[in-house]
């Protein structure tokens, strides 16, 4: 090794790099010249609403207070109305469960119609009749907007992705409705839009789930479920905004996540939960 060889190849490399630079610049200029009609549509739709929204400046998080929830189901109703979710109780972006802990330590879960009509006085879960109840509480459920989302990992066509602000979204134009994400989600947060139904931007046969009401949060509004919750059991906010009350809840309340062992790193947190919840 006398050093000549490597120095020559390094020079070659530099030369190549210098030649590549204008080529890259040229291609960028070209792509700028050839803008798509869709870009124009997006740009036209944005002003006055979400044009000023920069996802890089936000870090959304959600806190559910199981110790405040009264199981009224207003959130489930509001979500369906706001997001055109099928009224069939089988399909929900958000739902409410009642967890009844028996004296034997068993946790019975019931969620009649996703909780949209409220709850009967006693649990309707199998085996709940006659069981001695130690305690019971309501658990609001929604997409956890995981930072390590299994749904994104399993999607074969990259139709579902994570936005910079933390929200997991679905590109309905790319989704092929294979249902891998529905099975892959440990929280059961997704469903395939049944035939005869349409999501606001997708059609039947594609996956759908909670978006934190993306059209609302990008307008500085609260998600619909948070807006209508009468007891403040749902809190939503920006972890990058020091003034957001969500930071107080995350700091001062003892929050936990659902199924932490899955390593999904949810950005929906819970207070007032007992035992295992999933």
């Amino acid at each position: 090794m006398n050093g000549t060889g490597p120095s020559v190849s390094r020079r070659g490399l530099l030369k190549g790099g210098l030649l590549a630079l204008p080529a890259l610049a040229g291609s960028r200029m070209l792509s700028a010249l050839v803008s798509s009609p869709d870009d124009a549509v997006a740009a036209a739709a944005a002003p006055g609403t979400t044009a000023a929204y920069d996802p890089a400046l936000h870090d959304w998080a959600f806190v559910c207070h199981a110790d405040r929830c009264i199981g009224c189901g207003l959130c489930v109703e509001a979500c369906k109305l706001e997001n055109h979710v099928p009224l069939d109780p089988e399909f929900n972006r958000t739902w409410v469960e009642r967890h009844t802990v028996t004296e034997d330590g068993e946790v019975l879960v019931d969620s009649p119609h996703g909780g949209i009509d409220g709850f009967p006085p006693e649990s309707t879960a199998e085996g709940a009749e006659g069981a001695r109840t130690k305690e019971a509480y309501f658990v609001p459920r929604l997409c956890m907007q995981c930072d390590n989302p299994p749904c994104v990992s399993v999607c074969p066509v990259s139709a579902t992705y994570k936005s910079e602000d933390g929200v997991v979204l679905i590109d309905a134009d790319r989704c092929i409705g294979c249902g891998y994400c529905v099975v892959g989600c440990p929280y059961g947060a997704r469903y395939i839009v049944p035939s005869g139904e349409e999501t606001p931007i997708g059609t039947a046969g594609v996956a759908d789930k909670c978006t934190f009401c993306y059209h609302r949060i990008t307008r500085s509004q609260q998600p619909a479920c948070v807006e209508v919750c009468p007891v403040g059991a749902r809190e939503f906010g920006d972890r990058k905004d020091p003034a957001s009350p969500i930071n107080v809840a995350l700091r001062d309340d003892r929050v936990r996540v659902l199924k932490p062992e899955q390593g999904t790193e949810p950005r929906v947190f819970y207070t007032g939960l007992e035992g295992e919840v999933g």
Binding site: G26, Y137, S158, Q222
Partner: protein, 234 residues
């Protein structure tokens, strides 16, 4: 000597030949320079056009089949909300807003009871329909007792708490003030005490907390029974 002379001659010839080659290679006139530049220019233009055509095709292809999370996020963000921010309601409904502020319902947003008001807020005059008063069954949505509700949350057994369906005869939804039936003398006050029959264990039980106030006032509202025992209409 001859060898040297021959060598010199060869060298001279070579030098002369090289010089001629150099002269031949070099454009000798400005016309030559222009021609060469034109050729190079044409080549560059042709290349640029080719690049543009290929680039456009590639861009169109990418545009159609490529991955555009930002654009898709825009599509989600561009949807129109149905629910408005509750603060806007007070622009017109300041009275109700003021009542709510000091009431136990202060955490309850307008749309929790009245439903999505986006259309009404955008066009308050013609989109009046959603504003109609919700039915009293709505009260039960939150206040009917069930297991799982936090201790201390006001909940009642709707079947036995007064009569279902008339919540707002006593309770104001906005101020949450409770107006009990007026405690004034009335023709029914000489009847036997209500609690003679309506003991906690007898007939239809009294609602909890009504023992004290029951006798003088209860029939004022409770009297309208289908059985006619209490004089029919109140």
């Amino acid at each position: 000597m001859t060898r040297i002379a021959a060598l010199r001659a060869t060298t001279r010839r070579r030098i002369a030949g090289a010089a001629a080659a150099v002269r031949a290679a070099r454009p000798r006139t400005t016309r030559g320079v222009v021609r060469a530049s034109l050729k190079a220019g044409a080549l560059v233009v042709a290349l640029a056009i080719a690049l543009f055509v290929v680039g456009s095709a590639a861009a169109a292809f990418y545009d159609q089949y490529g991955f555009h999370p930002e654009r898709n996020a825009h599509t989600w963000a561009a949807l129109e909300p149905s629910y408005v921010d509750g603060a806007i309601c007070q622009t017109c409904h300041a009275g109700e807003g003021a009542q709510l502020e000091t009431s136990r319902h202060q955490t309850v947003s307008c749309e929790a009871c009245h439903g999505p008001l986006g259309e009404h807020a955008a066009d308050p005059v013609s989109a009046m329909i959603p504003i109609e008063a919700p039915p009293d069954t709505l009260c039960a949505t939150c206040h009917s007792s069930s297991s799982g509700k936090p201790v201390g949350f006001p909940q009642v057994d709707v079947a036995t708490h007064y009569r279902s369906g008339v919540c707002r005869a006593c309770h104001d939804a906005h101020s949450t003030a409770v107006v009990r039936p007026p405690e004034v003398s009335h023709p029914l006050e000489n009847l036997p005490a209500c609690t003679t029959c309506h003991k906690p264990e007898g007939l239809k039980a009294l609602p909890a907390g009504h023992e004290e106030a029951a006798d003088p006032v209860c029939l004022g509202c409770h009297g309208a029974g289908a059985d006619g025992l209490h004089g029919g209409e109140r």
